[in-house]
């Protein structure tokens, strides 16, 4: 057995697998958030309580945290390697001629999403997890925050940035795993765009609905 080296391709596998895992998580999260649109406020409270107390979900929380950590760390490691690969920059460069903006700025969009994630953990996860939220349950915790215009604005902008990140990340993960060719490329790209619109649009619409109501 030859020594398994963590080559750049291996790091990209890790990036792709953790990315796909987080892509599935986002869909589950959106599913729970959609309950906020229901007139029965207890529905969201019950779902929220379930997510904070179910034993299987509690184990998955650590797996999720690991998924985020692996995705972030391998992203940073690859960015450092990539930066070092070109010590002298071009005096004139026109990257927009041959590559999309989101594909060239994954570390930037990823970093901004991480900042939002920290804010999000502080505002929601912390209270829901430790049950120190306001009276009226988690529904009130959420709707109170979406009464604040600038919080709603930060939230929507963050999800638009996440949408751009996902639009490249979705199809790129299949390429990194080798599950791509000229036939599948079109399918992954379309599916990625539809998925990104659902995630960015879905979370944003819920936030705006709560703000205007």
């Amino acid at each position: 057995m030859s020594v398994i080296r963590i080559t750049s391709i291996a790091k990209k596998f890790i990036m792709a697998l953790s990315g796909l895992f987080l892509i599935v998580f986002l869909l589950v999260h959106l599913g729970v958030n959609l309950l906020l649109l229901s007139n029965d406020h207890d529905l969201f409270n019950e779902a929220s309580h379930f997510m904070a107390s179910n034993p299987l979900i509690q184990i998955m929380q650590y797996v999720l945290a690991l998924g985020f950590l692996v995705h972030i760390l391998s992203g940073v490691a690859l960015t450092v390697q990539n930066y070092l690969a070109r010590p002298n920059r071009y005096a004139k460069n026109r990257p927009s001629e041959n590559a999309s903006l989101e594909s060239r700025t994954m570390i930037v969009s990823g970093g901004l999403v991480l900042l939002f994630l920290l804010l999000h953990m502080r505002n929601f996860f912390y209270y829901i997890k430790f049950g120190t939220g306001p009276e009226g349950g988690d529904y009130v915790l959420v709707t109170d925050l979406f009464d604040i215009w600038y919080y709603t604005a930060i939230y929507v902008v963050s999800f638009v940035i996440l949408g751009f990140h996902l639009n490249h990340g979705f199809q790129s993960s299949f390429q990194s795993l080798g599950a791509n060719n000229k036939f599948w490329e079109g399918i992954w790209k379309k599916a990625g765009t539809i998925y990104s619109v659902i995630i960015a649009g879905g979370f944003s619409v819920i936030a705006l609905y709560l703000f205007f109501n």
Partner: protein
């Protein structure tokens, strides 16, 4: 045509280098880009100045020797060509043209616009070959039945001329398109399958050792490649690498 050239000048590998400006007049739109540089060099020599060093060989677009990052793009603004096939009619009267060497840690500058691309040679030596017994009774390659689709794909990958435009244009200075072409041209054929696992593991290891970046799947390399090597090859390289890693003994 009257043009202003901004050219990277560097006396040697240890020199810091700088951009220098050269006005040039009476350039014919029918000249190739390299002929335009020849004219500039003749005028520099006439003035007893050091001519601009740049790589060139066949000037027919097949050898991969000419390089040059022109106005922010590898091989200039045209598509699917090398610099020797780029013509001055692609530029406007009075335009300022930036001419720089390929920039990558793995491609150190030797002088002016010439870079050392031996990193590609070392990757090839790590596995970009098939071992054939040449004792005299070598079997005719045509005896092996190969599906037309595979033969065509292998030929498309083998069209890579190793010019380094993929590295030059990639934001990460990644050599994945080059390595994927060299792995694919053998992986698709029965002759190459024998050493496929060893080949992909060794070539990828060497690629990393040389200091190239990783692949962010931006697709810039495919756009700038003079031989239009497809990104499908990178997916195939990833597949080959995954299978080889999981099954190597």
């Amino acid at each position: 045509m009257n043009l202003t050239l901004k050219i990277w000048r560097q006396n040697g590998p240890k020199d810091k280098g700088r951009m220098e400006t050269y006005p040039i007049s009476d350039v014919s739109p029918d000249m190739s880009f390299l002929e335009m540089l020849d004219v500039l060099n003749e005028s520099l020599v006439a003035k007893r100045e050091e001519p601009v060093a740049f790589d060139h060989d066949c000037r027919e677009g097949i050898c991969g020797t000419c390089s040059l990052h022109i106005n922010g793009e590898a091989h200039g603004p045209d598509r699917a060509i090398t610099t020797c096939q780029l013509h001055m009619r692609k530029f406007k009267e009075g335009e300022t043209i930036y001419i720089e060497p390929w920039r990558a840690k793995a491609f150190p500058v030797i002088k002016d616009l010439i870079v050392d691309r031996e990193a590609f040679e070392r990757i090839q030596q790590a596995g970009g070959f098939v071992s054939v017994n040449t004792s005299g009774n070598t079997q005719d390659a045509n005896n092996l039945p190969i599906p037309k689709v595979d033969a065509d794909l292998a030929f498309d990958a083998a069209a890579c001329i190793g010019c380094g435009a993929c590295v030059a244009t990639c934001k990460n200075a990644s050599a994945m398109l080059f390595v994927s072409a060299k792995v694919s041209q053998f992986a698709l054929l029965p002759q190459g399958k024998v050493e496929a696992k060893e080949r992909v593991l060794n070539m990828v290891h060497q690629m990393d050792l040389e200091g190239f970046g990783s692949c962010t799947n931006t697709g810039a390399c495919e756009v700038e490649c003079p031989k239009e090597i497809s990104l499908d090859n990178i997916a195939r390289l990833n597949r080959e690498y995954l299978c080889a890693t999981l099954s190597s003994e």
